[in-house]
Symmetry: C2
Subunit: 393 residues, 2 copies
């Protein structure tokens, strides 16, 4: 947000927000729910759904709103909201969105990184209704891949991004993802069965499941089919992961030779209990696990001794059968019945998830530290005190 002071932006028309939110940045608004809210329902209620804005929320008249589609398409078109709702099949998916900066604060505690601080709750799970991006791109007659149509670039109407000299937010995904019949990228006008709220992109947003939230552009203004990725700052100079040898002195020559983040890595965190709680047994802990690319969470391991020994958590996810479209998160729980101590004892509870490709989370945050603080998916630890003498019953 270093350029903020130079950009005149108007935050007078922001929507109402839940006062319970943990606000990580006020303007632009960036907030996450209290972690326990995440595990209270499979679908996160809108009032608790995390918000990651890069600029003021635009005021858009849905009656005059037009989506533009141009670039490498044979039929550049303007589509009204009514066109979107009536010309194309309505699809509903359940998918989680997750910021690439989820758990950044923990990374910054290890060694300072740049970016909005986030705890463990910059993700949420929702239902999304709209039309397939694929259908719209076919309506516009997107040119074949061989002719160079490699990227679907999205621009928002949220002008005034401080990080990008007041431009609106932009980003892109590959045409391979955009056109994949099983990729489920939608242009969304309803969230959890309601009209898409202003904070989440009213009247129309992209939801690109399985990849970092930064690609699901809100307040969608334009889709440009292009041979190159989005020219936006947020595609080219942000949302990339480096090794720890790259710092602010040498990063400039490294932006272009590192890929922009797309698919999410495997992730999990314990939402209940909070760190430093005092637990009375039996106690049931709760958390979430997610994977990118539609991969299924196959297993969540719980350790009560800092990662020396493990046991299986109970998974509460969708059962979609042998299929690779697990866009939703998986919630998990695990009941601690007893501990090997007769007096109150501090224990280190750890969780780690495994996806259907046997990928799992790294152990230490230091090993994956990177200067933008993205993709922190290290083991999540919660230190608590267990009191075996007091029981809830």
């Amino acid at each position: 947000m270093s350029h903020e002071s130079q950009i005149k932006v108007n935050f007078d028309n922001e929507p109402y927000r839940n006062e319970e939110f943990v606000v990580n940045y006020k303007a632009p608004f960036n907030a996450e729910p209290r972690p326990e809210r995440l595990v209270q329902s499979f679908i996160t209620p809108i009032e608790h759904f995390y918000v990651r804005n890069h600029a003021p929320v635009p005021v858009i008249n849905p009656d005059t709103y037009m989506l533009k589609i141009d670039g490498l398409v044979e039929n550049p078109v303007l589509l009204s909201l009514n066109d979107i709702k009536t010309k194309f099949e309505k699809i509903t998916i359940t998918a989680h969105l997750q910021c690439a900066g989820n758990r950044r604060t923990m990374m910054s505690e290890h060694k300072k990184v740049k970016g909005v601080g986030w705890g463990i709750a910059s993700l949420s799970n929702g239902t999304w209704s709209g039309c397939r991006l694929r259908d719209v791109l076919m309506y516009a007659r997107a040119m074949p891949f061989e002719s160079g149509a490699h990227h679907a670039c999205f621009w928002g109407l949220d002008f005034g991004c401080p990080e990008d000299n007041g431009k609106s937010y932009g980003s892109s995904i590959t045409m391979e993802k955009a056109l994949d019949p099983t990729g489920d990228v939608l242009l969304v006008y309803e969230m959890n069965g309601q009209t898409l709220p202003r904070d989440h992109g009213f009247p129309l947003r992209v939801v690109a499941p399985g990849i970092i939230g930064a690609r699901s552009v809100k307040w969608l203004d334009k889709i440009t089919v292009s041979s190159t990725e989005s020219e936006s700052f947020f595609q080219r100079r942000d949302y990339k992961i480096f090794h720890n040898g790259i710092d602010w002195d040498n990063v400039e020559k490294n932006w272009d030779n590192h890929p922009s983040l797309q698919e999410l890595s495997v992730q999990s965190a314990i939402c209940v209990p909070a760190p430093n709680s005092r637990l009375f047994l039996p106690f049931t802990l709760y958390g979430y696990a997610t994977a990118g690319g539609g991969r299924k969470i196959e297993r969540v391991d719980i350790s009560l001794d800092g990662g020396q020994t493990w046991d299986l958590a109970e998974l509460m996810g969708e059962n979609k059968g042998p299929c690779s479209r697990y866009w939703a998160w998986t919630l998990f729980r695990y009941t601690i019945k007893s501990i090997d101590s007769k007096v109150a004892k501090k224990i280190n509870i750890v969780c780690r998830a495994w996806d259907s490709a046997s990928n799992t989370q790294p152990k230490f945050v230091g090993d994956i530290w990177n200067l933008r603080g993205v993709m922190n998916n290290c083991w999540h630890n919660v230190e608590v005190t267990v009191d075996p003498l007091c029981s809830k019953f």
Copy 2:
């Protein structure tokens, strides 16, 4: 191999093998190349391609060979080798195959596991020609997914598997993978441009890229479309990954609630130099990196200090553009130009790879230890002595 003594199996008709192979088990034959052979070419020559057999190599007459397709298909068929070659389009892909037991010996050194010991070379990269499994399944009119056609089960002609009471080898993949137009599962009759050799499944084998080698059944006898996974021992009682709390005392009740391994996790290893070498600078190290599910290797990090600080290796892979069909491996190299010492010094070289979903390798083998010793993809370390006083030039 505990049942071996009870099964009468005849190993009199085994093919000729390269005497340079590191033989991990003689009969059934299990062998890997010397690691340096892997990095000498992008395509592994057949004489160095690792071999993982579960039984004697069957003697099959290609003129009378018939592939059977049955189960949930409307048109059960028998196809001759000539049918396979002439009725269906010939496709060639480049793909690596990797045993789920690759690097098992290292896991066993941490704590004993069961299974054939493998070093770092139970993988190889080849070109494979044949027809699409998808085309054959459509020819047999496989029933729709909704009618229960969820798994493609393969049986080999390699009768005499000691681990399964003399039955032939069997395994399955999901119909989703089998039918995916971009999944590239082939029925292969040529390897590296030559007739498929006997050790690799002559006259016909499955190559299911992106998933563990155990699913690419050799000497293919029959494909059964089924609502359930293969009933084979090798699908139900082998090739599964557990946490370290599961041992031989409690594993029996855990086989069924753990998924069979399918997609490979992200992996890498240093093939040159060998451990305990003495290096003269400059020295270029070489290795391989792989990912499952067609994901691209985006980055390989090299550390010369045991993982404290990292630098980028140079990648030598395929450039397939923005696409998710990176079935081949990626080779890498890194030149050590100098070290911070004027006398000979022991250093710990480490590599780790990152795939396009930002998944990376676990640090410690102990953290992913499992009783069958599968999916060991921890950081690969090579301890060497660097002598800065002697130069090659």
